[in-house]
């Protein structure tokens, strides 16, 4: 890509995509440099200076064991984005593959996939996750396993539905009349035309997954303390909400800002990719 090509591409971005991408980039950079941005350690307790309100020394205040909330929020970026990324894009990868194959091949494979999918979505998501956590014990890995079992279904459905449309188009037929192997027809020709809606949805899914992990942490089923996960921090602060509003509110705000920037990206991508506007949230 030349500089001109990049400039042309940027010119086509809608405002929501530019704003969302800028915010998200800022968040990512902040997360990368978190250890150097504040003089404090996210785990060191300072029992002499607990529940301090926001000040110049502690812009986000301190929590009930005297840890600097800003430092913990900044370190939380790493944890929450990592969890959000893995819980979104790992299931998306195989959800897309299975869904696209299902839609293209049809027949018994499609029937099998769709029944499997029905079984997976028949369970209430949170209940199933709580059951899996009850069996395997809380922790990030348990959340991954639970999400991997279920989250692919939405992508499989999207990819299958799009593939049913795509496979009837002339260019797919043309690829078949030219004698290309089925794998090439599906993955090289049809697939790139199938993934747009999934990419747009993945932005919303990313937000939902961060919220899910935060919710589970809030319930005590997610990330174990003392890891500075945002949801866990909100949960820790709830006993002090009337005396020290900052412990819960400011990590909560971090979730909101991250979620909003991802939603803006999703919205902008939907426009840029020529999709009709979708609202999943």
């Amino acid at each position: 890509m030349t500089a001109i090509a990049i400039r042309d591409e940027l010119a086509r971005w809608p405002a929501s995509l530019k704003i969302g991408a800028t915010f998200f980039l800022l968040i990512v950079v902040t997360g990368l440099f978190a250890p150097w941005l504040t003089p404090y350690d996210p785990y060191t307790q300072d029992l002499a200076g607990f529940l301090q309100p926001p000040s110049w020394r502690h812009p986000f205040g301190t929590d009930h064991v005297g840890r600097d909330v800003l430092t913990r929020v900044l370190h939380g970026i790493r944890i929450d984005l990592q969890i959000g990324f893995i819980t979104t894009y790992v299931p998306m990868t195989y959800g897309l593959l299975l869904g696209a194959l299902s839609g293209y091949l049809g027949g018994w494979f499609d029937t099998l996939m769709m029944r499997l999918l029905d079984v997976a979505v028949a369970f209430p998501f949170l209940v199933l996750i709580i059951v899996i956590i009850a069996i395997l014990g809380p922790g990030v890995h348990t959340i991954y396993i639970a999400v991997f079992l279920l989250a692919w279904t939405m992508y499989a459905r999207l990819a299958r539905a799009e593939m049913l449309v795509e496979r009837g188009k002339d260019y797919v037929l043309a690829a078949r009349t030219l004698g290309y192997p089925t794998s090439r027809v599906v993955f090289r020709h049809a697939m790139p035309n199938v993934i747009n809606s999934s990419i747009v949805f993945s932005m919303a899914d990313f937000v939902l997954n961060i919220l899910l992990v935060s919710s589970l942490s809030f319930l005590g089923l997610g990330v174990p303390p003392p890891l500075p996960e945002w949801g866990a921090m909100v949960a820790e602060g709830r006993d002090f909400i009337f005396d020290a509003w900052w412990i819960s509110t400011l990590p909560g705000l971090a979730i909101v800002v991250t979620g909003a920037s991802l939603s803006l990206i999703g919205d902008g991508l939907a426009h840029r990719l020529g999709q009709r506007q979708r609202s999943f949230l």
Partner: protein, 326 residues
């Protein structure tokens, strides 16, 4: 020996309510280097025939239930999928009606033209590129070195149809199926594309099946004409004979419904509608719309028979047409 011999090909589509015979016993021969024009109205089974020849009927709901497709001495219906795939890529190619949708929007045009060479011939990307650019030049795409890397949305319909032709011709097929190749294009471009096809045919010696509902297109390009109606061939003849002395009332009807500048300007349409394929009787499927039908036409089955040398018709009473000719 003929390059392609089709014998009694039957294709049907099974829906929960009915079985629709889209091709009912289609037979024809095609010699190397020759062109067969297939005409017929929408739903007469032309496109289904092309797809069936390539083994590309979506199944279910479509099934090829009977017949032989002997191409180059091999019955394509009995080849395994891998062998058939190689035939599709290298020996038989096909181009479609709508060039706008026939190319993948996400890949550069040139890559798509040379893709077959990489897949089937194992050419390196740079060799395939050189060959692809040569192909583009052959089909009359200007400045191919630049346009190789452009995307389909940057091209016009006529240029895209040339690209489709280049794509189909890349591996030098012996047979090209052209399914309404000019229908989506405007008239001046139509002529250019047809001229290009004829020129390529002369240069490479390939055979061509040209499907169209436009009698003029067929007249311009084909050696033989096959007229399809209700999933069967009702008349097969050398082009000149079919146009001068049609021996089936449907062919005559088609010829009379072509607008002409000369004459009183009135068209003679064919009355009625094409029959519902799911509910055909035993008799001639055209009987209900035929000006010269007898009661027995509705009950007695018709088959193609040779009434003049090389001139076949599926009509019980072709002699009755003599008085009606325009």
């Amino acid at each position: 020996m003929a390059l392609l011999e089709v014998r009694g090909l039957c294709t049907e589509f099974r829906t929960p309510d009915a079985v629709i015979p889209a091709n009912a016993g289609v037979s024809f021969n095609l010699d190397a280097g020759r062109t067969l024009g297939i005409v017929g109205e929408s739903g007469s089974g032309k496109s289904v025939l092309c797809r069936a020849l390539l083994g590309l009927i979506q199944s279910p709901p479509g099934f090829v239930t009977a017949g032989e497709i002997v191409f180059d001495g091999r019955d394509l219906r009995h080849l395994d999928e891998t062998t058939l795939r190689r035939v599709r890529g290298t020996a038989i190619a096909m181009i479609f009606q709508n060039p706008m949708s026939g190319l993948n929007p996400v890949w550069p045009v040139g890559d798509q033209i040379s893709e077959g060479l990489r897949v089937h011939r194992g050419l390196s990307p740079s060799a395939a590129r050189a060959r692809g650019i040569a192909m583009m030049r052959q089909v009359g795409i200007p400045s191919p070195e630049v346009r190789y890397d452009e995307y389909p949305h940057q091209w016009s319909g006529g240029m895209l149809q040339r690209a489709m032709i280049a794509m189909a011709m890349a591996c030098e097929p012996k047979l090209l199926l052209a399914d309404e190749p000019t229908t989506a294009l405007d008239v001046t471009i139509q002529d250019q594309i047809l001229a290009l096809l004829v020129e390529l045919q002369e240069r490479t010696g390939m055979a061509m099946i040209l499907v169209s509902h436009d009698m003029a297109v067929i007249a311009e390009t084909s050696d033989h004409v096959a007229v399809m109606y209700a999933g069967r061939m009702v008349e097969v003849a050398p082009t000149a004979a079919a146009f001068r002395t049609p021996r089936h009332p449907y062919t005559l009807g088609l010829l009379q419904s072509i607008p002409r500048a000369a004459g009183d300007g009135r068209l003679t349409p064919i009355p009625g509608q094409p029959p519902n394929l799911a509910r055909l009787g035993d008799g001639c499927p055209f009987a209900d719309r035929c000006a010269v039908a007898s009661p027995e036409c509705r009950t007695r089955p018709v088959a193609l028979r040779e009434i003049d040398p090389g001139h076949w018709t599926a009509c019980h009473f072709p002699e009755r047409l003599a008085g009606l000719q325009a």
